[in-house]
Assembly symmetry: D2
Homo-oligomer: 458 residues x 4
């Protein structure tokens, strides 16, 4: 039953991607859960807890397409238990000899937390790949537009020149830090859980070393061993969600920049579109910054789900259903939103249309005022910084009110602090030398990092 | 494609109800959207904008089962437009004569905001009914246990006696305030939207009074007229979400009380369960307060979605896709969570097992200390309030540390402030007279309100 | 010790107002707390619990300037008790005969929740007054600019015309709904608390009717009687915070509009400023939309504090220090932020500079395309709505890409669907008739409400 | 003007610590800001931008005690500028020859973001020290109570045995991960800002390499160089806040455990208290888990402020006052709350009273049922896991309903699956062998980490 609009076949492309579907789509998720049960049976067979043949049978039969999911659903409701429906559904299709040999000693979180570990591994890998691809596109923007001068804007007011490459470099710098976070956090996140009833693993505590069993179980699935049960230590989950929400926020920052600079009154950037896209039905001329806006939407929702995960850290005793059930909703959600945001951002950045001529025109429209920082610099050396500042404030304030552009060189010459030619020379100085140097620094650092790191998330 | 666990057939019962399904389930939602298009065609026919016969045809064909939803989905993706896929899907099945007469002059939010109005009407009605039913159960608890004495607890420490009826009365009091909020907010929420491109309704502005058309459109659907376009005035949505999240919080408070008082060490309350329920696989003796916990889970998620709606109020210009797309996710979500929470709470409260004997035993276990407030009251009248307080603090502190129960009457007699018999008389005074009176007051107020208000939400 | 930047003498004007200071400033708050103790002594004197003369003495001595606040602080830390320090400080200055007659039977929340009731009354009154004053200014903007045509913008793209008056009317409409919420919520918020240890009022339960005492206590302070103790029923607080955060969100919406429309590239609105204001030190020409931005800042923080209050509703047993201590921070905070936001918004709106000529110029810059909704309306009547839409999309799409303005009349004439003169007539139709009618409707509704309601919050 | 209760001299100890005061207290903050100006003058002197003598003079005069803070405040309000008041206040006391040589080329965020870098360095260092000290105490608890058997509780229901040392080990494990996060994040956080008007450093761009100046400026203050201006790259701030809020959440988890286990009905843990503490005025026998509760309060507020910082990442263009002003409030707040929480938690854990006898008694009170996981393990090996589970469920369910304790050994013997002696042997097996091994693992890992890492945060 699809009650969430995010799952609607018509709108799902806004809230998920095919790659994310391989992790979260109902069928795929059930299969992953069954794979976890298979891994458990296998390591238990090796440890002599269940017969080797049973583990083989389980591996053969634990296929979601074999299960009667109606039965699974019915038994889940009937038992009010999160996994017993699945177990009964699986046992119903297993040959009798193996029926006792599934889910031995395990509990819900052994299954669902281990799934979380796998989710973080798979989604983390997608995020890593997409982040690096996006970084590459953004770096290319930075390189190409290293010297594309445009108005820097503070408080939404044009202030002094920057370059578009510099702007892109600050995006790249932020993305690179996210890559660092992803790399550093991985060992904390990509772990399994085998905790038993209360974390003490008592079920298996007589016959063998249960910690060894856990290590083998985690290794079988390609996960790290957690060292100690983490049934109510939810910082791993909260941290992962927080990093993802941070990534979404960066993408929303990029998107917001496009939304604003795509205003026709500014027209410095344009989102890619397709010929079949319709911006507005009643206003057929509209071309909307949909991707830019959507990145903000996704970031809001991701932030909200990450908040739920952070709250979930305050868990009680040895198991606390309140936070853990909320994680069932919020962790996949933040993954789905982030993966979608990355795909959206990649399309946006890869196809971004940059209009250097509009950037230059906008800058020039504001006239000499945009050189005020440079003039202030030069004038400060001559009459002192604060004197220069007050003088410029005095000279420029009326022009702001009047909305007109003054001949600053003439004005300042009148004041006797410099000749008009001097002022014009100051205005003519290259305004963004340092901006270019910062672009170079970002490019160099990213190149060095990209040269040494793996393309896979490890 | 089901990617959200909340939509999984196996777990959907934790995140929705059949009644909510009639509003939000994919098929039902599409039909409601089509019904809105039908209503628009009808009032436009009456206004002479489209032929009467076309409106009839639209009403006949605008059935979700007639539509090719794959086409709708494909066209939605192709046009990157939220409703054009649906319109094309509908036009594809319409006889040619009516094809031009659907969605005339309307835009996305005319459809989706009007749907929001209907959602708030339908969900609001369910909430009203469930809130009143829950209130009735809680009032019945308050009445039945008006004099069931138990330990009042502050900071999780038993302090002085209350009655369970008093506790329930504070729940009822809170629920009643939610009913007041629901009643007061309804005119703000249950409205339609017909705004056109930018809210100015210019499409229809030549031939007729577009405001009259809007009134008729809203009336056709049983919705109020909004007075002015509210494309970026999202306070209605945010308020509705906030009230619902508040309701969830109250239910989580009730749930939390049950979780704690169901601890076997306290054992004053027990959740209803069913014979087929399994608390724990590895600990077959467990009986978990699942409903109580789940109410907290639902409240967390509802609070989170309500926060998204509040943030969405800060919208830009005449339409802002950032907040509105987030509402598409968050408004249904908070509705689904709240409806589920109410159903969960009703089951919990209706079947709640109350153990008066355990309540009394727990109270007595703490001995005369639980009468400290009464003794303080009586002693204050004799030696002054602060002197009495310091004396009692002195007498009782050691017993707390020692974990023992002292003979307070003897102790105080030793101090010469009262005879042991006097102290025993104070201890013996009925401790909860005022609590009972407050129960009566709550019952009376609720009875008066329930006698005059409608059972339907109006 | 000032550790919060919001309390810094240098920045306090950004985070509070003089009027709010009369409620929250340290000295004022202590005096209000003492006043509550005085009120308690008075009603207890009337009820015969303490001597009449003692109540008079308490009233005389319970002045914050008499207290040794160092002693209060020291005793607060020493006892780890929230109010005992204050009580000891007060008793230290009281003549001996009255020393036993303060804070009789009361507990922390009796003091702090009653203070909350007074806070909500005082802040609510300020909010009511400021909201109404702001509404008046916004209504005046709506009236004055009823027909000031400007570009309506959707997704930050100019779409079709609106009027600035219409835009202001949607603000006014939203403010009016906040006034409705303030009026409706008042009886729930402006109440006192007298609950005793666990809400059952046992302290006073022997000698008199404690509910009568509570009624008298509340009445003495001009507060409503709560009916039942609300020690852990925190919906009142959460609702008040939510309404205030909603008000801030509306103000942030107004502020955001100004920030964006003050961009020099748009230049349709300008914030008021003062001659002594300095936009930027290094860019002396800058004139920043500070108030507009700050409204967004305040709204974010208010939303955050309101979230804490909503979370606080999930309280445990008869008293729960976790949420209540958080309220001590979050409720005043949301009040301070909202009061500051209202003052900021009033200044912003009252001095707002509107530039009708820029609005018209921006509209005309986009040429006939801005009439697309009207042309679509007219053309739909002739060739069908969807045919018209597809034709317009075809005609206009190239112009969007090319960034040029086409002669739409000529283009459409070429297609043979209308003569150029017909199209020009459509383009020439008054575009905002309905917008004006909506302005009128909002003005009329507000006028009616303002004529009947009180200027004081009651 | 103190309007925030957190700044009240009476309550400040709940919301700050003396160590935090050295960073955030008004006087200290202003001095740090002045120190940043001194550092700027020094490196500018070295670069030949200002005279060496001026830098010396600035260093001598830039003392907060020399400044007229009323003037600073007045000028701040007058100019509506965040730092100009301070600069004017400083210039007013400077000898004329140095007056032009302060704040040359800098802007607000150069000052305030550099202060943020220093704040993160100082607070980070305090957090590091406190986290390690707390970890040491928690490890000591884990070691001492490695074998102190107690009931593990899931869903607030006693389930199977754990040890208190195991519980503490999961706390230590979580704290250790926070230490890892603190170490990894430091290079991202402890950086300065020198960006100029729009991040391009144009002020200094003519005479020298401004990036070299920035490196020198950061180095002068012991901060890292950011590589590129980060005026709207706020991920550093958001990440720091998120890590701190996560730490608070862990402490709240510890606190919550104490609150619940201090219930007299459970009585397994007791918070330290002092003889002068007063739990309740009206209930003198109360001993409240104040620290435990307060940790939850602090975590809520910290989470809320961290959310503001995360939202602030979505910043616009080259400077965005909306998020940055919110950071001014939220970053110090989360620091103050976390530092206070750590101090509170240290006191709580260091003085925590553990009651092994109560732990054992509670476990025994639940009888053989607490061995169900072990019996299930043993029985599974004999009759199959699911058969065992169903059998135990059948046997134990009635006893749960009845609230009685059955003789499990006899019951199971009756069923013929094992002899009573066998069952008794299973029940008698050491239940927490693996728990002890996990404690050892946590201790070993922490010891290894502590042996190699620095006691200072580097």
């Amino acid at each position: 039953m699809v009650t969430r609009l995010t799952d609607s076949a018509v709108y799902a492309h806004l809230w998920s991607t095919p790659a994310l579907g391989t992790v979260f789509e109902e069928h795929a998720r059930w299969q992953t859960w069954l794979d976890i049960l298979v891994a458990l049976a296998r390591v238990q067979a090796r440890a002599g807890i269940v017969p080797q043949r049973s583990a083989e049978i389980v591996a053969e039969y634990a296929r979601v397409e074999r299960l009667d999911m109606d039965l699974v659903a019915e038994q889940t409701r009937r038992t009010s238990h999160s996994t017993l429906g699945l177990i009964r559904g699986l046992r119903a299709v297993l040959p009798e000899q193996a029926r006792e040999h599934v889910y031995v000693g395990a509990t819900v979180q052994d299954l669902s937390d281990t799934w979380f570990g796998l989710v973080m591994r798979e989604v983390g890998a997608q995020v890593w790949t997409d982040l690096r691809a996006l970084e590459a596109s953004v770096l290319e923007l930075a390189r190409r537009h290293r010297d594309t001068v445009m108005a820097g804007r503070t408080h939404a007011q044009p202030g002094a020149p920057v370059t578009f490459g510099f702007k892109a470099a600050t995006w790249a710098d932020e993305l690179r830090r996210h890559l660092d976070r992803m790399r550093e956090g991985r060992p904390r996140w990509v772990v399994g859980q085998l905790a038993g009833a209360v974390g003490a693993l008592a079920f298996h505590d007589h016959d063998l070393d249960p910690l060894e069993l856990r290590r083998a179980f985690c290794a079988e699935l390609g996960l790290g061993d957690p060292g100690v049960s983490w049934l109510t230590s939810r910082d791993r989950i909260a941290e992962f969600g927080g990093v993802l929400a941070g990534i979404c926020a960066t993408l929303a920052r990029i998107g917001g920049e496009v939304v604003e600079l795509q205003r026709p009154e500014i027209a410095e950037l344009t989102e890619p579109t397709s010929p079949s896209a319709v911006g507005s039905i009643t206003m057929p001329h509209k071309r909307n910054p949909e991707a830019g806006e959507h990145l903000d939407t996704l970031a809001r929702l991701a932030r909200s789900s990450a908040g739920v995960l952070l709250e979930g850290m305050v868990a009680l005793h040895e198991r606390d259903g309140r936070g853990w059930k909320a994680e069932w909703v919020a962790l996949p959600e933040v993954c789905l939103l982030t993966g979608t945001a990355l795909a959206t951002a990649r399309t946006l950045v890869e196809g971004l249309e940059v209009h250097p001529e509009a950037m230059r025109a906008n800058l020039e429209r504001h006239g000499d005022r945009m050189a005020s920082e440079r003039i202030l610099g030069a004038l400060s050396a001559r009459i002192g910084k604060h004197a220069a500042q007050e003088l410029l404030h005095e000279v420029l304030a009326p022009s702001v009110s009047a909305g007109t552009t003054r001949d600053l060189a003439a004005d300042l010459a009148t004041r006797g602090v410099a000749t008009a030619d001097e002022v014009r020379e100051w205005i003519g100085r290259p305004p963004v030398r340092a901006a270019g140097a910062m672009v170079d620094a970002v490019l160099a650092r990213a190149a060095a990092a990209r040269a040494t790191e793996t393309t896979e998330w490890t």
